[in-house]
């Protein structure tokens, strides 16, 4: 591919941008590894009913004849105390974890971004102060405590868990976008857009926001890890995914009681959590490089 040719159409420009982005990303071998692992996990989770050996074990299923079996060829990760295949449950468990991460990010990031943009760009000082102080209040409460309180008030299930975590996640994005926006506020290209007569929304969304995308995406990948950990922690103490559904945190909790003899019941779910978080974190580095504006 002649990488040096000038670009002659909008479509070609998009293709070149993507290709260039991938080039910058792929200079980090660990990031590529993380991406690979994540893709495998996501596909596995999506196709769980079709690829797991014992999909019915992910629900109410017991078979005490096959309980507490160590890892073997028929049960890759062994079985738990009621005879369910740990491997299949882990794959299904990924579904809940990933769903949690996606929902929380989708709910919390857009409002955070919008508030951050407004707070950073507005010339009216009181709006800026109001938004940032509200943000501070939310940030002052420890996430686990707030999540506990909310899920304890309502009934403990995945949905409530998702909403509770979303509520405390948006302030981080607000702050991030606020800091980028204030630093860009007085750049000449923003002034030029104002002087030309572009409307405020246009300036915020099309001028300022594209310059925030890098830090935002990098933070999202790191946050996926945090959210999954938080979800697993809540499940660990019984406030998340309820049995018999296979939450990874729940599985770690249940299996912990069987340590160290029947180690496979805890260790594999724990490793699964580690794998997904690690892969997100590794991707984060590559993303940061991908979005860096490089001058030649």
């Amino acid at each position: 591919m002649a990488r040096n040719r000038p670009v002659r159409s909008a479509l070609e420009a998009k293709r070149v941008n993507i290709s260039k982005g991938w080039y910058k990303f792929s200079r980090n071998p660990l990031s590529v590894l993380g991406l690979g692992v994540l893709i495998v996990i996501v596909f596995a989770a999506l196709l769980a009913p079709f690829i797991t050996p014992y999909p019915e074990h992910a629900g109410p299923f017991t078979d005490f004849r096959r309980s507490s079996l160590p890892p073997s060829l028929t049960h890759l990760f062994g079985t738990d105390t009621v005879g369910r295949d740990v491997f299949s449950r882990v794959i299904f468990g990924y579904r809940f974890s990933l769903l949690l991460a996606i929902v929380v990010i989708s709910l919390s990031v857009p409002p955070g971004i919008l508030l951050g943009l407004v707070a950073g760009y507005t010339r009216r000082h009181w709006i800026e102060i109001a938004i940032m102080r509200i943000t501070d209040i939310f940030l002052a409460v420890p996430p686990l405590v707030l999540a506990l309180a909310i899920t304890a008030m309502l009934s403990p299930n995945l949905l409530n868990q998702m909403m509770a975590i979303s509520l405390m996640w948006w302030p981080w994005y607000c702050r991030l976008v606020y800091s980028v926006t204030t630093s860009l506020r007085h750049e000449y290209f923003v002034h030029d857009a104002e002087l030309t007569g572009a409307r405020k929304m246009f300036i915020l969304l099309r001028t300022v926001l594209p310059n925030c995308v890098g830090p935002i995406l990098t933070k999202i990948t790191l946050d996926m890890g945090f959210v999954i950990t938080l979800g697993a922690s809540l499940s660990f103490i019984g406030l998340g995914v309820q049995p018999p559904k296979p939450g990874l945190g729940t599985m770690v909790a249940d299996g912990a009681k069987r340590l160290p003899a029947e180690w496979w019941m805890t260790v594999f779910p724990a490793l699964a959590i580690v794998a997904v978080i690690l892969s997100f974190n590794l991707i984060g580095d590559g993303l940061r490089d991908m979005f860096a504006v490089e001058e030649i």
Partner: protein, 329 residues
């Protein structure tokens, strides 16, 4: 005889900071004649950029008046009419930050067209190509380029094309070539001068490069700490500078030939630094560094006087003999 297109009278722009009030522009008055290139020269802290930003509408002035084609422009851009925004444009100092690094050149040049013309996409694209050709950047090569992959000179040419996209009558050029090499500078200056003639533009040209100013401007004004020290037609400014600061500045420039050395005023060793604009010295703001200071300079701020026809200076060495009110330049 063309009349003034822009008149600025006792213009003030003060910034209020925790350390004190910064009088960036402190009672500045001048007029710009239609079609001319009015040069504004000064070092950092002189206020030249602030004046340009105020005229263009980034700020509203803190006091004084500014009239453009007879209409009041003493407000910031959010309060200006769309026609005014079309008519007064600016090319910024730093090509690196005047173009959005995430936008393609096509998007950058399309924005003013979207705001100001009623044309649809294809017509605007045609106009974008026209603009790129006008600044001698081949459209096929540049339409989809991004600023980070372009050199400073190319970026500045895009900035110029962007400024001219709305067919303005007045363009403020804030150090358009200061960050660029001499050969690129030559190209851009030639371009600007050609376009000025073709499109009947009036320029407010700001630079600290006096040699460049000598060849660009019809009239030159020199500023120090927010006030104008001297205004004159170019030749008079360079051949017969009156103000000690003008002479100091002229004697400091690095020239490349002996003939030019001869033209410089006798070497005035520049002393001291420019004081902080929060701490403007009393009396004449230049007196601390002035080799010719007198007692009165410490106490009284001089007024602008027309010492020769068309040649104005604000200095106690050239007192106002007629008892007239301070004149506008």
């Amino acid at each position: 005889m063309k009349g003034p297109i822009l008149t600025v009278e006792n213009l003030k722009k003060y910034f209020f900071t925790k350390q004190g009030t910064v009088k960036a522009v402190d009672r500045v008055s001048f007029s710009v004649i239609q079609g001319e290139t009015f040069g504004l020269v000064g070092e950092s802290g002189s206020g030249k950029t602030t004046i340009a930003h105020t005229i263009v509408g980034i700020y509203a002035p803190s006091g004084g008046a500014a009239l453009f084609k007879g209409k009041n422009i003493g407000v910031d851009s959010s309060r200006r009419s769309i026609d005014l925004k079309k008519d007064i444009r600016i090319v910024f100092q730093d090509p690196g930050s005047s173009l959005n690094p995430r936008w393609s050149i096509k998007q950058i040049l399309d924005l003013p067209l979207r705001v100001h013309s009623a044309n649809a996409g294809p017509e605007r694209l045609e106009r974008v190509r026209e603009l790129l050709s006008m600044v001698e950047l081949p459209p096929e090569e540049y339409l989809y380029k991004y600023p980070p992959s372009m050199g400073g000179g190319e970026k500045q040419m895009v900035a110029i094309a962007r400024a001219l996209a709305t067919n303005p009558s007045f363009v403020a050029l804030d150090e358009p070539t200061s960050a660029l090499d001499v050969s690129v500078q030559a190209k851009i200056i030639n371009l600007l001068m050609g376009l000025q003639e073709k499109l009947h533009l009036t320029y407010l040209f700001i630079t600290h490069d006096l040699s460049l100013m000598r060849n660009m401007a019809t009239r030159v004004a020199i500023m120090y700490l927010g006030k104008i020290c001297e205004v004159a037609p170019t030749v008079a400014f360079f051949q017969r500078p009156f103000h000690p600061y003008t002479r100091m500045l002229l004697s400091s420039i690095q020239v490349i030939s002996d003939q030019e050395e001869e033209l410089k005023p006798k070497k005035i060793i520049s002393r001291g630094e420019i004081p902080s604009p929060v701490n403007v010295p009393p009396g004449c703001s230049f007196h601390l560094r002035c080799p010719e200071r007198m007692d009165i300079c410490r106490r009284v701020d001089p007024v602008m006087v027309e010492h020769e026809t068309g040649h104005f200076v604000r200095c106690h060495l050239y007192p106002d003999r007629s008892g007239r009110q301070p004149t506008d330049a």
